[in-house]
Point group: C2
Chain length 285, copies 2
Amino acid sequence: MAIRVVTELREMQKIADDLRASGKRIGVVPTMGFLHEGHLSLMRIARKHSDFVITTLFVNPTQFGPKEDFARYPRDFERDRRLAEEAGSDVLFMPTTEDIYPAGYATFVNVEGITDLLEGKSRPGHFRGVATVVAKLFNITKPHVAVFGQKDAQQAAVIRQMTRDLNFDIQIIVAPIVREADGLAMSSRNSYLSSQQRKEAVVLFESLRLAEKRIAEGVVESSAMREEMARHMTKFSAGEIDYISIADHETLSELDQMSKGKTVLISMAVRFGTTRLIDNIVVKV
Amino acid sequence: MAIRVVTELREMQKIADDLRASGKRIGVVPTMGFLHEGHLSLMRIARKHSDFVITTLFVNPTQFGPKEDFARYPRDFERDRRLAEEAGSDVLFMPTTEDIYPAGYATFVNVEGITDLLEGKSRPGHFRGVATVVAKLFNITKPHVAVFGQKDAQQAAVIRQMTRDLNFDIQIIVAPIVREADGLAMSSRNSYLSSQQRKEAVVLFESLRLAEKRIAEGVVESSAMREEMARHMTKFSAGEIDYISIADHETLSELDQMSKGKTVLISMAVRFGTTRLIDNIVVKV
């Protein structure tokens, strides 16, 4: 069936109400559009866990910093519509900024603690924007299940915490990272890269693989490993490292030692010119 | 039918889901218990607008300041249960503090702007606690309609704003203040008053009536009227005035002049010993 494009908030809520009244399970996949295989994998997972899949497409201004790429964030509606339809979405919900943040808008959702670290530290206010818009999208699409990507590992943790804390009756699924053939994590922002940068960008994944190997070999000191990862990236690319983090995968607090049995989130942000890429891997020590 | 007492969050969500699945309309009345005629009027209004009324009873620690009356806030469960039942509530939802704020709790809802004024100014953090717990109770009880009292005029404004901003698909009804025979607004905190304080406490309503009379007579200067109200209260009681506000009834911003056609919220907070009372009136100039 052809995908239905919905822009009105009330109409979206009415569709959700009608689906729920007829006993249907709703799955939602929040995106900022410019869809790639990563997003499509989320839709396919949502499909498996629900009867009706709503993909939301909203480039959310409140999660961009004043010097970030909100204005130039890539957009391609016709392509997105086709891809979302092919991946099994029933509705593409595409609200306007004016409807999401009308004049006099004043309410924000803050998840404290974990939002001060990593991406939150580098991008102040980012997760306040994310948590707020996701809470809103939950209330507009009324899903039973929502699917997010592990690519944004900290975002997934923030949304899990918010969902639990605010008692949203929604199952959160976090889906594995989808990568290009050479290992680069798929991202809408990859489209910003020059061909040289694109080639070099594989150093993120390479350094994560290197870390995984070192852990298997018994390396326990985080600082030594972080330095080795940084050396690799600096040697084989012009990328400027924003952070490399070796943290507890739940609390996201930094670990000096990777002790046996721990599940560790190794994550990083690296700038190639004005393009900022992130990647991560979860390793059981 | 006997009222059902529910303490488990998941059980409450399940009841709400089943009601919705069978096409029933849910009304919710959030309270901190120690019910009086004011609360009961809210339940009767909820009854009129829904098929099933959930009264919540939770003394919410996050909306009390460190020096406020959380520990001594009055409690009388057996009486509350009987009164809620008589007023037509179907469920009394009474969660534990540990279930509402489990270990590691970290998420707060902030309504900016109007929460900095009046009660928010006198009670920093109060409305953050209110907005957060109401968002949670909305997600747990899944109502179609929620009823709040005009007694807490600013709270009603904050909840309206939050409901609109976060796209909660819930109708908010604000019900008129219920007063004692002498005009004192009903409040669970009235039980703190000594018999002398109780007699004097009528000055709040008297000064509001005085203001209403002066507006009818054509007084337009807010400062003159505020002074007259303060004089009345100081002359006939030992109450210490926290604030007297003459504000736009929607934005809550203070008005120097009460111009014709304006709808004005006149509100106040007054301390009698350690007991803090509030009252208000809305006047169309």
